[in-house]
């Protein structure tokens, strides 16, 4: 059993036309047993930056607090907001600091840059980043999610269409993974604001 698969998670982030979407499941398990169905793994860092943290739940929560700390410090010192790219670099840096005793998380960053253009990045547990313009996935059902996204994704989707695509891709992936599921949350981020919705799926 891998430590990254102890609690279970599934997160997809996708880019649309002047918007991004990020969705996660809400299951928290201890291997086979389900412990909670309201454990969200996607966190809002600002109106334009969301981060999804998949992996060991304790590290998910710790990293969320650490990121908030670093973000506050940055904004106090620089007197301006973090951009998604810089935020992604901060995260990558934090992870590499623990190169030989890492945090067991594999994050994704989704946001809108200064020109309200979509930004996506994914990382491994020691901070190696990948930047894409279509989608990033992470968690215990990545094989399923890659397949679903590759099939359903189209460029330049409007927010409503992005929501549909993201939701269908996630829901179908969750159903074939024992460790993720039990509810899902989707956030669609545009320059005018964020819309968050709960998805109704199989609660198993």
């Amino acid at each position: 059993m891998s430590i990254l698969e102890y609690n279970g998670a599934a997160i997809i982030a996708m880019a649309g036309k002047d918007c991004v979407g990020i969705a996660c499941d809400t299951r928290l398990g201890a291997q086979a047993q389900t412990v909670a169905c309201d454990f969200r793994k996607v966190f809002k860092m600002s109106d334009k930056i969301f981060v999804g943290l998949a992996g060991l739940a304790t590290d998910v929560l710790t990293m969320q607090n650490l990121l908030k700390f670093r973000q506050n410090l940055y904004e106090l010192r620089e007197d301006r907001e973090l951009t998604p790219k810089v935020f992604s670099n901060v995260l990558s840096n934090l992870l590499y600091e623990k190169r030989f005793g890492p945090y067991f998380i594999e994050p994704v960053v989704a946001g809108l840059d200064e020109n309200n253009q979509p930004f996506l990045s994914g990382m491994d547990l020691i901070g190696a980043p990948v930047y894409t313009d279509d989608f990033v996935v992470t968690g215990t059902a990545t094989a399923n999610m890659y397949g679903m996204c590759e099939t359903l994704y189209k460029k330049d989707m409007e927010p409503d269409q992005l929501f549909e695509t993201l939701s269908q891709a996630l829901l179908a992936s969750l159903d074939r993974d024992a460790l993720s599921g039990w509810g899902a949350t989707v956030h669609i981020i545009t320059k005018d604001g964020v819309t968050s919705r709960e998805l109704k799926g199989r609660m198993d």
Partner: protein, 275 residues
């Protein structure tokens, strides 16, 4: 004059004084004035902006007021370079507390942490003390709005209203007379009449001003402490901390808003009827 006890911070003089610390405090008395006033619904901090040269590039943020965290801000009087170190420390400590406890650091604890850091430079290492005095303004759910003053010795105290920097004695004496009894609007005059009747029962009750009243008082004090006779919005910086929807809001008044307060204070000074 006990000069031989001056140079080392870590030695007492025969009279039981730490001369280096006292000299540090002197350094602050030459710096731009900072006034802090506690109000019912917030805190006002006013500071004198000393523009040393017209060639200086305009600073994007303040040289006097600094945000330490979401719920704490401070005003600086003294050596800016020393202040930068301490402000960074304060921000780190506030951030670390919130990281550990997932709740904002109580204001007094933050002030004490910064002051303990300053105190170390009066006892160990043979290093000179920081030449900075701070006014900390903060809000927490335990004690509401609080105003603290700290000096190079690492000593701090909580105040309802105080002044640091040049001419602080003049400022303090003005505040002593005016704080808690200022009335500059007609409605306040009527309220005071009502209060007068009750006054007989209670002993010296200081009525806290609201933020607007505190702003006017701060400008009044600044007018007294500043060298130039003409007060303008370029020479002073007015900062207000208040609560909006349960969240702490930091605001540095812009030129128009600051000028409005200055005009109101001037109107008070020249009573109506005088031409």
């Amino acid at each position: 004059m006990a000069r031989r006890y001056d140079s080392s911070t870590t030695t007492f003089s025969p009279e039981g004084r730490l001369h280096q610390v006292e000299y540090a405090i002197e350094a602050i008395n030459n710096a731009g004035t900072c006034i802090g006033i506690l109000a019912k619904d917030g805190i006002v901090m006013a500071s004198e902006k000393r523009v040393t040269s017209g060639l200086l590039a305009p600073s994007k943020s303040s040289e006097k007021t600094y945000k330490i965290s979401q719920h704490v801000a401070c005003n600086v009087a003294g050596l800016t370079a020393d202040a930068n170190i301490l402000i960074d420390q304060a921000r780190l400590r506030a951030g670390r507390y919130e990281y550990q406890y997932c709740e904002p650091i109580p204001v007094e604890q933050l002030v004490e942490l910064v002051c303990n850091y300053k105190q170390a430079y009066t006892q160990y290492g043979g290093l000179r003390p920081f030449g900075v005095a701070f006014l900390f303004a903060g809000y927490d759910e335990h004690y509401g709005f609080q105003l603290y003053q700290s000096d190079p010795s690492g000593n701090y105290s909580g105040w309802k209203a105080t002044v640091i920097g040049s001419n602080n004695q003049a400022g303090k004496s003005l505040l002593k007379n005016e704080y808690g009894s200022s009335s500059s609007s007609e409605e306040e005059e009527e309220e005071k009449e009502g209060e007068m009747k009750v006054e007989g029962a209670a002993t010296e009750e200081i009525s806290m001003p609201d933020v607007k009243g505190a702003l006017r008082l701060a400008v009044k004090v600044l007018n007294k402490t500043m060298d130039a006779s003409a007060s303008s919005s370029e020479k002073m910086e007015l900062y207000v901390m208040s609560l909006e929807n349960g969240q702490v809001v930091h605001k540095i008044l812009n030129k128009e808003e600051a000028q409005k307060v200055i005009d109101e204070v001037e109107a008070e000074a020249t009573p109506a009827g005088e031409t």
